[in-house]
Amino acid sequence: MKELFNVGVGKAASTLSEIIDKKINLDVPDVRIMNMVRGKQELDVFLRQVTEGAAMVSSISFNRQLEGTVSLIFPAEKMHQFIDLCLNEEYSENNSLEFSDVDFDTIKEIGNIILNAIIGELSNTVHIPVEYTLPEVSVLQSARADLLVSDASYHLVLMMYITFNIEGTMIDGAIVINMTLRSLDEILENIDKIYGGE
């Protein structure tokens, strides 16, 4: 399972490199698969430590055979820098939590591309197609795990801590996948069928 997501995150990093047109190093993520209670605790620790409470969250849901939501979480204060890098504009030293429609649109589209890379690669590997809902982006002033993984029908939380090193600019973030147990079973069954349980 970890390898599956590592492939997707690697693809996402190279995709992001293409967008920003700069060399991006991505720390090999530590994929953790947890139940809801543990997952929420972990996520709360991350939100307190890395985002210091304010987070920008870009998410997309998927359904059909696999069902869940995947979110890309970054500290909101770093997002102006990230957006400037994406738009190839000079960084304006803006750490405010005010974002324009253009900022939201940019993050939504980049989140869409990165999250599609992760879930799409997973879908291709396990031969299970998914359908996406429209991507969403929001700034959570006091981000809590409850706001991100709140649906009781989802039982699993997969967390990947990522650090983007964009030519010396370090941005810590996380990818959180909130998925049903049935989806995990489907994935494992198909891995077994396709790869003989290797």
Partner: protein
């Protein structure tokens, strides 16, 4: 003048797509639509030579837009530009007789690919 209609719910993506293709080709006029429904209306009213469309959009999905466009003009020249990397989606969309299926993000190499299609297609 070749008319290219870009259908994408992201202004960011519209801007980058038009800018990169525009650098590769002279004599191209771009029009934009923010969702599939608007894309269909503009296709019917403006008769673009080429349509570059996203798939995941509000109101009318890209797949449905292509289907509706092909009902109007079976020979309509459609290029898909989508973040969806699923091979199954690519396979289904390919069967709708699109000229190309290109994955986002847009970059210079992909813009050259689209420009070559448009350039060779002689609208």
């Amino acid at each position: 003048m070749i008319k290219v209609l870009i259908v994408d719910d992201s202004k960011f993506s519209q801007k980058i797509t038009a800018s990169l293709i525009g650098k590769q080709l002279d004599g191209v006029a771009f029009e934009f639509a923010d969702d599939g429904e608007e894309g269909l209306e503009k296709f019917k009213s403006d008769h673009p030579d080429y349509i570059v469309t996203d798939l995941l959009m509000p109101k009318l999905r890209g797949q449905d837009l292509i289907e509706r466009i092909k009902q109007v003009d079976i020979d309509a020249k459609v290029i898909v530009l989508s973040a969806d990397v699923q091979s199954k989606v690519r396979e289904v969309v390919r069967q709708m007789h699109v000229l190309a299926f290109i994955n986002k993000p847009m970059n210079e190499a992909k813009a050259k690919e689209i420009a070559a299609i448009i350039g060779n297609g002689a609208a």
